[in-house]
Structures are given as structure tokens and as C-alpha cells.
């Protein structure tokens, strides 16, 4: 990971922390920093250009409303915004089909604790280390995946394709898709274990 991306992750985290304090300037900065990528996500997921713009608006409004719940300890700003746009997308899709479940059925809201902004900021310094480590490891992992494995993960994330559809898309046997995905998943799983080790080290050194 380069110094630049690390700074960028911290920059985004800080913007969201400021938005929690109703800072409109920070909100506009966050828009400038992320909007074009959030829109790219919507389009990759199959939205038309105008639906993608609507999803972007919905996502950013939710960012404003939920900013006080953002905890850099548990996720980077980008991960947090990913969960927001993923959930908004599900809810917008369901709007046309009332029989469908809502995102809060899948990810029940945590009981919203009253978090004071003082607490937020004071906890921020310690937490930064932890979330940076997480982000760093996931990033290293994606970069280390061979292109062919990464391509399949993209298809799962953005297109919601099943294994057999991916096989058809790429003109490869189903078995190949499965084994490539399995390899990628195994690396991610090892990462999860490794990360637990890091978390333990951090906890031990903190107390």
C-alpha cells in the first residue's frame, strides 16, 4: 500500500466524522471524492445512467443521516459507504416489487445507541490503526489475486451472477469457475484468520 492511499482512507474517515457534526463543507468534499465511483458501482450493478444518479442521491442522503453511526473502529469510510449503497440499491429495487424484503431485514439495524460526538472523536485515534490494518490487508489481497480470480469476484459483486452464468459469460467450464472462486475465497479466508491475529495483537498491546 502506498502512503497516498493510506492518507486517502484517513481523509475519507475524517470527512465522515465531520459530517456527523453537520459539516456541509465536508459533505461536499466527500461527494467530490466518491460520487463518480459510487455511480460506477451502480452502473456495474446494471443501473441505467439516470437510475445510477438517483441511487447516488439516495446513498448520499443516507450518508448524511447515518454519519453519527459511522465508527472508524469497525470499518473504513469506503466500506461503510459500500454497505449504504448496497442496501439503498436493494431497497430501490424492491420498491417496484412490494413483496420483496427490505435491506433492514437482511441487516437489522443495530439498536441505535446514543453516541456522543466527543466519544466519537476521542475513540477515533485508537481506532484508526485498526481499521487501516484491515483496509491494508484486504487491499493487498485483491492486488495479489490473479486477474482471472479477481474477474470472477467482480461478477459476483456487481452482477450477482451465479457460477453457471459466469461460466457462460466467460466461455469457461463451470468447474474452472468454481475452482477459481474457491481459490480466491480460500485466500480471503486465510486473510480473515490473519486479521484475527492482528486484532488480538492490537488488543493485547492496547491493554
Amino acid at each position: 500500500m502506498t502512503q497516498g492511499t493510506q492518507t486517502n482512507a484517513q481523509y475519507l474517515n475524517n470527512l465522515v466524522l465531520k459530517i456527523a457534526l453537520q459539516d456541509e463543507q465536508a459533505y461536499l468534499e466527500l461527494f467530490d471524492a466518491c460520487a463518480s465511483r459510487l455511480k460506477a458501482y451502480a452502473i456495474k450493478c446494471g443501473s441505467s445512467a439516470s437510475d445510477a444518479e438517483d441511487l447516488l442521491q439516495e446513498c448520499m442522503l443516507t450518508v448524511w443521516n447515518k454519519a453519527p453511526q459511522f465508527k472508524p473502529a469497525s470499518a473504513s469510510a469506503m466500506t461503510w459507504m459500500y454497505t449504504i449503497i448496497r442496501n439503498r440499491r436493494i431497497d430501490i429495487l424492491r420498491k417496484e416489487k412490494p413483496s420483496q424484503i427490505q435491506s433492514f431485514d437482511l441487516w437489522p439495524e443495530e439498536d441505535i445507541a446514543q453516541i456522543s460526538s466527543v466519544e466519537l472523536i476521542s475513540s477515533h485515534l485508537d481506532d484508526e490503526v485498526e481499521s487501516d490494518l484491515n483496509a491494508k490487508m484486504v487491499r493487498i489481497l485483491i492486488e495479489s489475486l490473479p486477474e482471472e480470480q479477481r474477474q470472477i469476484i467482480y461478477k459476483v459483486y456487481f452482477e450477482g451472477k451465479s457460477h453457471s452464468e459466469i461460466a457462460l459469460d466467460l466461455g469457461l467450464p463451470l468447474g474452472t469457475i468454481k475452482s477459481r472462486l474457491r481459490l480466491a475465497m480460500k485466500k480471503l479466508d486465510n486473510l480473515a484468520k490473519e486479521q484475527m491475529t492482528w486484532l488480538i495483537i492490537i488488543l493485547v498491546t492496547n491493554f
Partner: protein, 230 residues
């Protein structure tokens, strides 16, 4: 603590927001009580964040930012935004909130809105006291979602599956040749599974099953029952 878990692929699809209704709710129910899988989903969500980070930017409409700011101000003036730093706005619409509050709190949270009462009071249906079912209202084009209740100590006719059947144990326990399954356990049976589940003696076993094809009974008795099981 569950001993049987959804596959990593399924958890990744969940984190990607790409599961259908039935499988999504079922996976969410398992996650509620499984820290191990929660950790994996957490990793996959970071992966989602990074994939966004890696995306090639797509140009945003020039007026998008002013539109956003205008909506923000309009909502604030209408009292639809959080107004202080301390109080996040209530995210749920009142109708959903009410549904959740009136639900039986012993049910897994993702199911509460959809199940009218705790298991013993549901309108179970079925031809036999050994196995009864209750259809859940969120089946989708691909998967059927229902509860099964196997009476304490009873054994199901031996059967195989034409497609996939994902089973989450909610209450009680059952066993088959491959193992013992307890609440939170998530088991996948498919065409190669040939089993005869039996509920443990002490209590009825309630399972949340998601199937993409009907069960196929194989024993003599089973063949007789097949038309009733759909």
C-alpha cells in the same frame, strides 16, 4: 455456537447484496447467531468497499451536487433530517418499526416481520403429525421458503432432493447419517444427499428450509407421500 455454516460463496453473495429473498433471510438468520460467519461477511464487505475504490470513475451529472444540497436543505426544513449531532434519525419507516415491535421477540430478527407468532401457535399444515409445514411469505422466483416441524422422536421417510435444499435449524434438533444438527446449524442437501432425518426425542424440531426443487421420496412409504409434500 453453530457447527455447520453457509459456504463462503454464499456468504460472499450475501455481502454483495445479491442473494434472493429466501436465501438472503435464511443467511441473515444464521448470521445473527454466528460470530464466525459475521467476521467473514465483514471481510467481504471490506472487499466491496475496495472494489468501489478500484472502480473506474463514471462522470456524474454536473447538477448532481446542487441537487443533493437542495434536497438536503428541503428535507432539513421539513424536519426529515437528523437535527443534532447526538441523535441519528430513526432509519425505519413507522410501519416497519411497528411490525417489528409487535413481533414475537423470540424469533430471529430477520424473520420477525414475516411470522405472525411463535412456532407453537403457527397454523401448521400437513397430512401427518410427524411432519408439518408452514409457508413463509417471501418465497421468490428461484426458491421456496417454509418452516418444517418434525415431531419429537419422529423420523422422516428416506428421501433425496431434486435440487438444493438449505436447512437452518431454529429450535430443537435432528440427526441423519451425516451428523447432529442443533439451532443455528445451516445444512445443504442436494441431489447426492440421501437421508432420513430424525428429530431428537425431547422436543419438536423446527427448521427453516429453502428449496429450489421439491423433495423426492425414495422409500416405499415415501413414494406414497410424495404427492402431498409438493
Amino acid at each position: 455456537m453453530a457447527n455447520y455454516h453457509p459456504s463462503d460463496e454464499l456468504l460472499m453473495q450475501f455481502a454483495a447484496g445479491q442473494l434472493t429473498n429466501a436465501l438472503g433471510i435464511q443467511t441473515a438468520c444464521h448470521l445473527e447467531s454466528c460470530i464466525e460467519c459475521q467476521k467473514k461477511v465483514f471481510i467481504y464487505e471490506q472487499l466491496g468497499g475496495d472494489l468501489i475504490d478500484y472502480s473506474t470513475p463514471v462522470e456524474v451529472n454536473t447538477e448532481a451536487k446542487s441537487r443533493l444540497l437542495a434536497t438536503l436543505h428541503a428535507k432539513r426544513d421539513a424536519g426529515q433530517l437528523r437535527t443534532s449531532d447526538l441523535e441519528p434519525i430513526e432509519a425505519l419507516e413507522p410501519v416497519f418499526k411497528q411490525q417489528l415491535e409487535h413481533a414475537d421477540q423470540r424469533l430471529p430478527k430477520p424473520l420477525r416481520r414475516f411470522v405472525p407468532s411463535y412456532y407453537e401457535h403457527l397454523p401448521w399444515s400437513g397430512f401427518s403429525k410427524s411432519i408439518q409445514s408452514y409457508d413463509l411469505p417471501f418465497s421468490d422466483e428461484q426458491y421456496t421458503a417454509r418452516f418444517y416441524k418434525i415431531a419429537a422422536g419422529k423420523e422422516l421417510p428416506q428421501h433425496t432432493h431434486q435440487g438444493n435444499e438449505f436447512t437452518l435449524v431454529l429450535s430443537g434438533s435432528f440427526s441423519d447419517l451425516s451428523g447432529d444438527y442443533h439451532p443455528g446449524d445451516f445444512v445443504l442437501a442436494n441431489t447426492s444427499t440421501h437421508h432420513q432425518p430424525q428429530a431428537h426425542d425431547k422436543e419438536d424440531c423446527i427448521c427453516f428450509a429453502v428449496t429450489d426443487a421439491p423433495l423426492k421420496m425414495t422409500g416405499f412409504f415415501g413414494r406414497l407421500l410424495n404427492p402431498f409434500l409438493r
